[in-house]
Symmetry: C2
Subunit: 404 residues, 2 copies
């Protein structure tokens, strides 16, 4: 057999692979890593909030007292003391046996998708919704249906209309607190109504809550899961209150689902790093989060305020709108009529500032005028500069538009 | 609306969830965690081999010099210096751009499944094969076809017959070095023949090599991927040469597949823990593995020898067969004719010793007489005791069998 008799290898991709796309945000992040760019694009927590010295002490203690166990294979469910801490910190009655530690809450979304989505299953999402959730769900080939949403979250009547039918929706994916990308929060009235209606029609909820602890003036209303624990899967994360680089999150699941999520977890990565779980448990014991999280809230509130003040100052005379998030990391803005955020982005980058075009966050067609601005990664001084640069780019784009 | 008007939530599981099952091994491991049980069941590396003090120094250095970056979100591809180290340590020309860091090599299997398996795709595996791979592939609903195998691995003619047809196989999954579960190694002649034949028919190979560095007397032949890099995906792991509790492995992928595997990785958990990647890179620099891995080889060889000697001594007069692995962690044994390893297990546990029935590792019907024995977790003294207890259990089971 000569070499040129050989066939090239027949790599046949799964159908789902065609639907996978590079994360728009991660592609933008690459651009924004250029030195000198002020980035409102990434959802990167401020590194100032990472408790580095506490982690140093925790690493040292875990490896000194418990090294071999921390470095060995471990239970797929997660490190028992950490599961107990999670159960204890949630504002409803949760048993540690319902807690599954995940490799970031992104993995929670992947496991939910595997266990609940068949090809062509209908699933419901907010308008707009978290891009990472769309990416986690897409490989399981669902039909993703956007539910009409306003500043308080999903429209409950539209939800009910879309949930039922010959092929009932498998679930609604919802991020009620300081949503990514809009920063909006679901009111108590909306939660009560959504919870009652979804119980009435038997619609499962997947509640994602990575930002809930990052409130500025008052805590958000009770989670949806607290109102109907057997009808909801709750996803939480340590990324925003401790550090994302450890990749730890958790699922709280009803008994009907826990065993299947656990089996999907075993198949996905056996277990989340036990060393990291012990580090986090060590840092968290003695109520560390009660002391630490308020410092994150204060920092992010000051940065949100800086961005609001800069927008007020710099966008004068421009047809630009924005909201006032009550917590979290993101603010949602709308460019002047006729302007396209995707077209604006390179011009903004030329002026040294980056953002994510909001259209990336819609399951269906997005609003091209929308923009997601993170206020937590840049400093207050950078926020002032960056918003001024953004205003200049918008002003220039406004003037070069063809006269009607 | 009264409470009893409410419907219970309609959790509809995905079809794939029915095919997910709890890991037999993980269930057995729970039993064997009972104090006093000598376990040959789990594939747990000896904790004596974990370089705890090196990890302590590395943690301290990473958090001191580079804390905020190590704790922040990071690139989905992995930490660049670690990717370069991986590329440099492999015995064929690999560019760092082909290396994708994964959350253990189990995640590599999950990503391969997502990118290459559609529902009802035919995939080929060895007889028997690694249970964790079957678990990673199953959620994507393939038809798994067992290829006839002998002490050197797959039968190349049976492979070729099963690979082609109206629905060509998507890939062969193969673990050529010190296989889990059998401990067997594919000879150079078999590798050459398998490689040539799979190139001839254009069959992709997924080559899993978690144990390749753990050879006892001589390194195994060159990987299959080295012979045809564009036709193979190679999976590696740090679990057996450093520690499993950090959950780090890697994929080396051809250009045709890398972007899709990367997108699947983003959707699965964004990236593997950056902190852990920096720790491992810090430990590995300056050739640490070249000094460390020989100590693991020597330890495991002594434990294999202890198990071989104990089997020789204790199984006298019993119709029990076993092989002599040239490396890795497992030995494969066959019980007397008519004996079922699943039935034997509780009796063995009563006598204080555990193993995994080999039938768990077959895609199709398994050989009930087979048994996987790990020789790396127990000490040499425990191996002596445990094999004596196993022999006693076998002897008892032999005598209580009904006369023919």
């Amino acid at each position: 057999m000569k070499l040129n008799d050989l066939q090239p290898t027949q790599w046949t991709l799964a159908r789902r692979a065609e639907r996978m796309n590079p994360s728009v945000i991660r592609e933008i992040l690459k651009v924004t890593e250029r030195p000198g760019i002020i980035s409102f694009a990434g959802g990167l927590p401020s590194p100032k909030t990472f408790p580095v010295s506490e982690f140093r002490a925790a690493c040292e203690k875990v490896l000194r007292d418990d090294g071999p166990a921390a470095l060995q294979y471990a239970a797929s469910e997660g490190y028992a003391p950490l599961r107990e801490m999670v159960a204890a910190m949630l504002p409803w009655k949760v048993d540690a046996s319902q807690v599954l530690i995940t490799t970031g809450s992104q993995q929670g979304l992947d496991l939910v998708a595997k266990v609940l989505i068949d090809a062509d299953s209908r699933i419901l999402v907010e308008t707009p919704t978290y891009l990472g959730a769309l990416q986690a769900f897409t490989p399981m080939e669902p039909q993703v249906v956007s539910v009409a949403s306003d500043a308080e979250g999903v429209d409950v009547e539209d939800l009910a209309a879309k949930a039922v039918g010959a092929s009932p929706a498998r679930f609604l994916y919802v991020l009620p607190n300081f949503q990514n990308p809009t920063g909006r929060t679901m009111s108590e009235a909306r939660r009560a109504s959504l919870s009652a209606r979804s119980m009435e029609i038997g619609l499962p909820l997947i509640e994602d809550n990575p930002y809930g602890d990052l409130w500025f003036d008052a805590p958000p209303p009770l989670p949806l899961t607290a109102r109907n624990p057997e009808g909801c899967v709750y996803l939480g994360s340590f990324s925003k209150v401790l550090a994302p680089g450890l990749r730890l999150g958790f699922i709280v699941a009803p008994k009907a689902l826990y065993p299947k999520l656990l089996q999907a977890k075993q198949a996905a990565d056996l277990h989340s790093p036990g060393f990291n779980q012990r580090m986090v448990a060590e840092v968290m014991k003695d109520g560390f989060l009660d002391r630490h999280v308020p410092t994150i809230r204060a920092l992010y509130k000051s940065q949100r305020d800086a961005m609001l003040a800069a927008l007020q100052r710099e966008m004068q005379g421009l047809d630009v709108q924005w909201n006032t998030p009550d917590g979290g990391m993101f603010l949602w803005a709308k460019l002047p009529q006729g302007m396209d955020a995707v077209a604006l982005l390179p011009k903004a980058v030329d002026r040294g500032v980056a953002f994510v075009p909001g259209a990336a966050f819609y399951a269906g067609e997005g609003d091209p005028r929308t923009v997601r601005l993170s206020f937590v990664t840049a400093t207050c001084e950078q926020i002032d500069q960056g918003i001024a640069a953004l205003a200049a780019a918008i002003r220039e784009a406004s003037t070069v538009q063809p006269a009607r």
